[in-house]
Symmetry: C2
Subunit: 390 residues, 2 copies
């Protein structure tokens, strides 16, 4: 099978390295024929081009790997490849989250495959494991740590005592965080992964606007110290639940007891949990990003496409589910500066804690959307909240 690579950055070069250096029997068939780069100066091999059409219109290329990232022109490239009957494998969560149903349908109509294992949890076999569980079980719950950057920040604040800004700077120096870190620390990246995961798990369309998102931008050392004192650890969690014809999907910090597995997930690792009726609870842990783990996930998709040899899966997103935020609820820890908060929200406050100059509240059990809406007007002045795991 001849492959075209759209993009030759970290992940693209990881794919190329794995295909070139691996000698198991699955690789007899795989050849990288052309690679798209942006700049003329990056044309360091004969097979490199700056013209996407050379790949998208090449009749010998059966499969296109899209790793340029972003929505445009990734969307246009993927659609053209699919319509030209080339299977597509991508690691691009932004474009998958935005066009999952359209890509899936177009691939099926053209008799080829669209795969995106690498778009969620990097090297962890997450998408394919979820689909495997669903061969037998209805999936009623998914959750996990889907973003390595935020986990790196929280883990180092917890273990080394850093303030948020200090460790964010270190993460940027190490290349774990972007110079504009908002996609990671505001929960946008993890929201996209949750959207993809929930759509597959519950077989429905999940509109982005139905996912309540609260990130870790406002967390402070004082919050971490409070959690440590009660033998807990905070993690940024994506969670989705389904019950009958209702569902809920939310991104928010969650406080785990230290004895829980999620509390032990270190550095920039990811973990994901799936619940099914007969299989019970399954967890999958590994590298959520990085050149070789993400490259590995892409190559696994390529091998899957070779293996199924045209026997296509039809993925559907046809369940009509309505959002019900009460499916995910709990008591919340809330830290605010403004004394107005207490007056305006006395109905949801269970108790007030003393903590050297900070106003800290524990709420009654409320649903995740109520908490998110309550926090809205205090976000700019630095409110932080996190849900206690039941």
């Amino acid at each position: 099978m001849k492959i075209g690579l759209l993009g030759f950055g970290t992940v693209g070069s990881g794919v190329y390295e794995i295909v070139k250096s691996t000698s198991t029997c699955f690789f007899d068939d795989i050849e990288v024929k052309k690679i798209l780069v942006k700049d003329e100066k990056d044309k360091v091999m004969d097979i490199i081009t700056t013209d996407a059409e050379e790949i998208l219109n090449d009749k010998e290329i059966d499969l296109v790997v899209e790793v340029i990232g972003g929505i445009h022109p990734a969307y246009e490239y993927i659609m053209k490849a699919l319509k030209n009957k080339k299977s597509v494998v991508t690691a691009n969560k932004a474009v998958v989250a935005a066009y999952l149903k359209e890509f899936t349908k177009t691939a099926y109509e053209n008799g080829i495959s669209f795969e995106y294992e690498a778009s969620v949890c990097g090297g962890i076999p997450w998408i394919k494991s979820l689909e495997k569980v669903k061969r037998i079980d209805e999936v009623t719950e998914v959750y996990g740590i889907f973003n390595g950057t935020s986990n790196f920040i929280l883990d180092n604040m917890t273990k080394e005592g850093y303030e948020f800004q200090e460790i964010l700077k270190k993460a940027q120096e190490k290349g774990y965080a972007e110079s504009d870190p908002s996609a990671d620390i505001d929960g946008i990246d993890i929201m996209r992964k949750l959207l993809i995961t929930s759509s597959l798990a519950f077989e429905c369309e999940v509109p982005e606007k139905e996912i309540d998102v609260f990130g870790i931008r406002n967390i402070q050392k004082t919050d971490i110290e409070y959690f440590k004192n009660i033998n807990c650890t905070v993690k940024l969690i994506a969670a989705g639940k389904k019950y009958e014809d209702k569902y809920c999907a939310v991104v928010e910090p969650v406080i785990f007891k230290n004895e829980r597995i999620e509390a032990a997930v270190p550095q920039n690792f990811n973990i994901g949990t799936i619940y099914g009726k007969t299989i019970g609870e399954l967890k999958f842990y590994g590298q959520g990003a990085g050149k070789l783990p993400t490259g590995n996930a892409i190559v696994q998709d390529i091998i899957d496409i070779i293996e199924v040899n045209g026997k296509l899966k039809e993925r559907k997103f046809e369940n009509k589910l309505t959002k019900d935020s009460s499916l995910i609820s709990g008591k919340y820890y809330v830290r605010v500066k403004n004394e107005e908060f207490e007056k305006e929200n006395s109905d949801i406050i269970e108790k007030k804690l003393e903590n050297s100059g900070n106003l800290i509240y524990i709420t009654k059990k409320i649903d995740c959307q109520t908490m998110r809406k309550t926090a809205e007007k205090y976000i700019k002045e630095g409110i932080f909240y996190a849900r206690f795991e039941d």
Copy 2:
């Protein structure tokens, strides 16, 4: 596809229940045609028989599920089914550990499949995940908690303060441990799972006698208290490593820092870790036993066989590896009664600890086989040891 069930105990009835009650598209094809039981009194349905030949010689049956357990007659039934060109799926670790290579070869020669996902880690997709990793990477290390009974005992000793005999009795009452618990607490069950795992991971034959095994029969509350005081948790671990043409496989208690994921594995859950060159570290967690999780793993194997539709995998065990115990080594915690131990083993002892009447030693870094051999003569008088994770 018509299937025959050999055995209708816990796991067999789990398989039957899942096949009967599941309605995903994969089940349109699956029908349980006949079920073998031992006693005439258990013939409660028309499809139940007490004559194995009725299943093994039935030309309509394409696939046989073996869940009777033990070596004989399971071995004979499996061989006859394979030679009659029926694919076989089994949960029976004892017979798989003893005859893995022969079953694999016979199945391949007869153009059908032999699958055994359920034989290691129950419902966790462990065998298939390992094989998936190996499509790309050489696997250099595998380890994990592969026995739910011993984990239940250790977890409850740690969290609830039980003595070993007390919690063993409770485990027996709950049905988590057999009336003769030796397979679980002496590490025999986990050794078989390690043998199967290492054979597949390293593509070699692993003779049972090359696996050093030390269980948890001799553990006491005093050991657990010592580990808790140093913020650690002990787990019974199966571990295999490969380096060039050497390998090592060992079953022994291992002491993990509390912040490690293994330390957080509760109750009778299992976890397994795989290292590959490009994928890095992957962990898989779930129910290691039980009617529905184990039944689920068997049904997943059945679906895989339907899906591959005769396109066979050839599994080989042809690497010639020699045992090298130095691949797995560390400092050990040792508790003995006999003062002779100190005199006879002064060369490996790093320090002696005071602990109310017990003789406790921390060894220098030694390999796992040296530790096992050193312990041999003190086993009957109650020696307990555990390796500190590096």
